[in-house]
C-alpha cells in the first residue's frame, strides 16, 4: 500500500466545508468509496484523518470536505491508502441513482465520474438530502429531492447511498422498504463514521453489523452491499 507525502495544492469552499486539491503521483488513485488516511507530514495531529476523493484529475485528487481549518495551500500531507472497499458500479448499469442522507454527496463524486466514463450508464439521476450542491456535479446529472428516492427505485438498476452510521436505522424507511424486504436492484451503501486506524488495529470502533456477523468498515467497507447489512 503506497505511503506518500503529497502537497495540498488548492483549498476552496465547497458544499461540505473546506475542500482541496492534492497533487500526487498517478500511483495514488483510489476507487470510488475508498478512502485515504492523511495527516500533516511531520505534524502533531494525534490521529490521521480519513479523506474521500470527489474527483480524480490528471495531476492529482480533489478531496471531499471538510478538511481541517489548519491545513493551508502548500501543506505537505502524509497519505496512506487507498484503503478499504469502494463502490462497484455494475458494468450493465444504465440507470444509476446516487443518494446522500449524510451530506451533499461529495463522497459520491468519484462514482459520478466513474458512471460518466462508463458508456453504458447513459442516464444518471442524483438525489440529495437537504441543500443541493452548488455546481458540484456535471450538468448531465439530474438533481431531485430526497423524497423522490422511493419512486426512483422502480426505475433505477443501481443505487449508491451515502449515510452516517446513525442513519442506518432510517435507510429502510427512506427507501420505503418493509422489514426484511430486499432492495429491488443492486444497492451499495457508503457508511460515514470514524475510521481511525485504517484497518491496522481491528479495534471495532467502525464495526458494522451484517448478515454474516460484524464487519469493520475500515477494511471490509466503508462501502457495503445494502442487502448485506443488518438494518
Amino acid at each position: 500500500m503506497p505511503e506518500l507525502v503529497c502537497v495540498l495544492e488548492e483549498i476552496h469552499t465547497g458544499s461540505e466545508g473546506m475542500e482541496g486539491i492534492l497533487r500526487c503521483p498517478p500511483t495514488l488513485r483510489p476507487n470510488a468509496g475508498q478512502y485515504l488516511l492523511v495527516h500533516v507530514a511531520g505534524g502533531d495531529e494525534v490521529l490521521p484523518m480519513p479523506l474521500f476523493v470527489s474527483r480524480i484529475r490528471e495531476d492529482g485528487l480533489e478531496l471531499a470536505g471538510p478538511l481541517p481549518a489548519t491545513w493551508m495551500v502548500g501543506t505537505r500531507l502524509a497519505v496512506r491508502g487507498p484503503l478499504g472497499h469502494g463502490f462497484k458500479l455494475p458494468a450493465a448499469a444504465h440507470r444509476v441513482v446516487l443518494a446522500s442522507l449524510a451530506g451533499h454527496g461529495s463522497r459520491l463524486g468519484m462514482l459520478v465520474q466513474a458512471a460518466l466514463l462508463q458508456q453504458s450508464a447513459t442516464e444518471i439521476s442524483l438525489v440529495f438530502c437537504g441543500d443541493l450542491p452548488a455546481g458540484s456535479f456535471p450538468s448531465a446529472i439530474e438533481m431531485l429531492p430526497l423524497e423522490s428516492l422511493p419512486e426512483l427505485l422502480t426505475w433505477a438498476d443501481y443505487l449508491a447511498l451515502e449515510v452516517t452510521r446513525d442513519q442506518l436505522v432510517i435507510v429502510q424507511d427512506a427507501l420505503h422498504l418493509q422489514p426484511g424486504q430486499r432492495c429491488p436492484m443492486p444497492a451499495q451503501v457508503l457508511i460515514e463514521m470514524p475510521l481511525a486506524c485504517g484497518g491496522m488495529a481491528q479495534c471495532g470502533l467502525c464495526a458494522v453489523e451484517t448478515r454474516r456477523g460484524w464487519k469493520l468498515a475500515c477494511e471490509d467497507g466503508p462501502v457495503f452491499d445494502l442487502d448485506e447489512l443488518e438494518l
Binding site: 494525534v46 490521529l47 502524509a78 491496522m200
Partner: protein, 252 residues
C-alpha cells in the same frame, strides 16, 4: 505453579494491546525493531462492539470506546495461530478473563500455541484485591505473565504479595477517562494521545521501587518520548495509536 519471569525482549519497543490487531505483520514504523507483538484484548467468549462505541477527540488526545470486541479466544487462536507461529517476532496474547476459571482456561489454550511467548493479563479498573490476586494466580501457568494494573495499586499492601511479574500501567492498554458524547451523554473509554506522557512517566516512577520490570505505555508519540521512559528505568515501552499514522509515525 509460581509465575515466571523469563521474558526476553530483543528490543524494548512493543505495541500496546489494541493498537495492531490480533496477528503480527502490520507495518512497524520505528527504526528500532519490534520486541514483541501484543494482541488486542481477547476474552473467553466472543464480545460484541459496544452499542455506543465512539471516538471523541480532546486537546492532546482522544477517547476511544469500543467495548473491546473480539471473536473469543478459540476463534482468535483458530484464525491466528499459524501467523503467530510463522512470525519473526514473539507474540504476547492479552487476555481479558471474567473469572479465575476463565483465566486458567484461556492460558491453557494458549500454552499450546507456538509463537506465543507470554500472557498479558488486563485487570479492569475497580477490581477487588481478592479478585485480582485470584486472577493473577489462575493466569500463572507455563508462560510468563505480564499484568496490566492501575498504578495506584502499587500503594496497596496486597501488591507486594505478587512477585516475579512484569507490570504495565494502564489497563487494558490505556488509562480510562470520560467525555460527553453525542447528546451530551457521558462516554467512558480509553485515553490516547501525547497529553498522557507525563502521567505515564509518573506511573513509571511510582512502579519502579517495586523492583519489577515495567512496560511503560501511554502518550508515546515520538521516539524521544520512548527514549525518555527507557532512560527513566522502563524495561520496555509500548506505543499505541501513533502507529496508525503509518511509516512517518513515532520515528521523527
Amino acid at each position: 505453579m509460581p509465575p515466571r519471569l523469563d521474558l526476553q525482549l530483543s528490543s524494548p519497543w512493543l505495541n500496546a494491546p489494541g493498537s495492531l490487531g490480533f496477528a503480527p505483520g502490520k507495518p512497524w514504523p520505528l527504526d528500532a525493531p519490534q520486541g514483541a507483538f501484543v494482541t488486542n484484548p481477547v476474552s473467553l467468549k466472543p464480545r460484541d462492539p459496544a452499542s455506543n462505541r465512539d471516538l471523541i477527540p480532546y486537546a492532546g488526545g482522544f477517547l476511544l470506546h469500543t467495548g473491546l470486541p473480539n471473536p473469543g479466544i478459540k476463534a482468535v487462536i483458530r484464525q491466528n495461530r499459524s501467523r503467530w507461529q510463522r512470525a519473526a517476532v514473539d507474540t504476547w496474547v492479552h487476555i481479558l478473563p471474567a473469572s479465575p476459571s476463565e483465566a486458567a482456561e484461556m492460558v491453557q489454550l494458549l500454552e499450546d500455541c507456538e509463537g506465543v511467548t507470554a500472557i498479558e493479563l488486563g485487570l479492569m479498573t475497580g477490581i477487588t484485591e481478592e479478585d485480582a490476586l485470584e486472577l493473577i494466580s489462575a493466569a500463572s501457568g507455563e508462560l510468563p505473565l505480564v499484568v496490566e494494573i492501575d498504578p495506584i495499586w502499587v500503594l496497596a499492601p496486597w501488591f507486594f504479595k505478587v512477585v516475579f511479574l512484569a507490570v504495565a500501567p494502564n489497563p487494558p492498554g490505556a488509562p480510562r477517562g470520560a467525555l460527553p458524547g453525542p447528546g451530551e451523554k457521558i462516554i467512558n473509554g480509553r485515553l490516547y494521545g501525547p497529553a498522557l506522557l507525563p502521567q505515564t512517566l509518573h506511573a513509571l516512577q511510582t512502579l519502579l521501587p517495586v523492583g519489577l520490570p515495567v512496560i511503560a505505555s501511554g502518550g508515546v508519540y515520538r521516539k524521544e518520548d520512548g527514549e525518555l521512559l527507557l532512560a527513566a528505568g522502563a524495561w520496555a515501552v509500548a506505543v499505541d495509536a501513533v502507529l496508525w499514522r503509518g511509516n512517518e509515525a513515532v520515528d521523527r
